[in-house]
């Protein structure tokens, strides 16, 4: 390999590290924002204003299915990043489609939960506890929705442009984003649902 090619490849690697690191900083600041929602939820969890409490509202079966969807989608997202490293378009599209289906299943379960809570007179306007709950879980849901849009965009870009260097940097950022959403969901199902039912 001649020197020019080596230098170009090295510049690409440095750029990938810088982009990944910058996106990592963004994710950490996003997690700091979520910690504010978690703190307000923990402060307000007993402020039910005479309405229903966590124990009466949450359905752990649905939460278990949501958790499984998101965890497996994190795994398939990891497979997609391996596929992008190997420049394998077929494996990439298959695992990204699996991630898309699982993420959409998660989102539809969450929307169904919100609808049923509102129908049972436990909407976000009912108490400070429910406002904090809808803000925290809804914020995560909005992140998942944005992630799904990004996922479809990445599939389209790989289809149209192939695994170019800039496209594969975006795939790196997308996989970081998706794994971070799963980490936030771990905190969320533990603090909101499991401790809400157990305590």
């Amino acid at each position: 390999m001649n020197a020019a090619v080596a230098a170009v490849r090295n510049a690409g690697e440095m750029k990938r590290i810088a982009v990944g690191y910058g996106f990592w900083i963004f994710l950490l600041s996003d997690i700091v924002m979520f910690s504010c929602f978690f703190a307000s939820y923990a402060v307000l969890v007993h402020a039910t204003a005479g309405g229903q409490e966590a124990r009466q509202l949450f359905d752990l079966d649905r939460v278990a299915i949501e958790t499984a969807c998101l965890l497996i989608s994190s795994f398939t997202c990891g497979l997609a990043s391996i596929a992008s490293g190997r420049r394998s378009a077929l494996l990439f599209h298959v695992s990204m489609t699996a991630t898309l289906v699982l993420g959409a299943a998660f989102l539809s379960l969450e929307v169904a939960e919100f609808m049923s809570m509102v129908a049972r007179n436990a909407g976000p306007t009912h108490s400070a506890f429910l406002s904090a709950f809808f803000a925290l879980v809804g914020c995560h849901g909005v992140h998942v929705s944005i992630g799904l849009l990004w996922l479809v965009t990445m599939m389209a870009q790989v289809h149209a442009k192939g695994f170019r260097e800039d496209v594969s940097r975006r795939i790196l950022c997308f996989t970081l984003f998706w794994h971070a959403l799963d980490i936030i969901w771990v905190a969320l199902f533990t603090v909101v649902y499991l401790i809400g039912v157990a305590a």
């Binding site: 080596a6 690697e13 990592w24 703190a39 752990l60 391996i82 533990t190």
Partner: protein, 129 residues
Amino acid sequence: MSEVIPVHTAAEVAPGDLPEGDNESGVLGYVIGLVLAGGLTAVSFYITRGSLFWRPSIPTALIVLAIAQMGVHLVFFLHITLGPDSTNNVLALAFGILIVFLIIAGSLWIMGNLNHNMLPMDQIMNMQR
């Protein structure tokens, strides 16, 4: 004379990337992560629903399990390691964890203290008469 230019001089690795391109072990890492995380999740749900354990201990146990599972996600999915090539990633993470801890523990502490020291609402009403 020596025209050997190292292809890989980057002393760091992007977060999420495996160090030194070991793509073959990649799938195995994700499988281990999935099994560990799934196991920890299953234990969390099991101890919440079962009547096997002393109830007051369950929230603490759940928090410990959640922190363990986040560690699994960081190591096996995000590939944040303690190796020398991801020092920057780990330092940024440590700072983020510090801020998260300050926000959550500080809010709970201050609000709990205020709540404890505040007069009951009917007495506040009486004082305003």
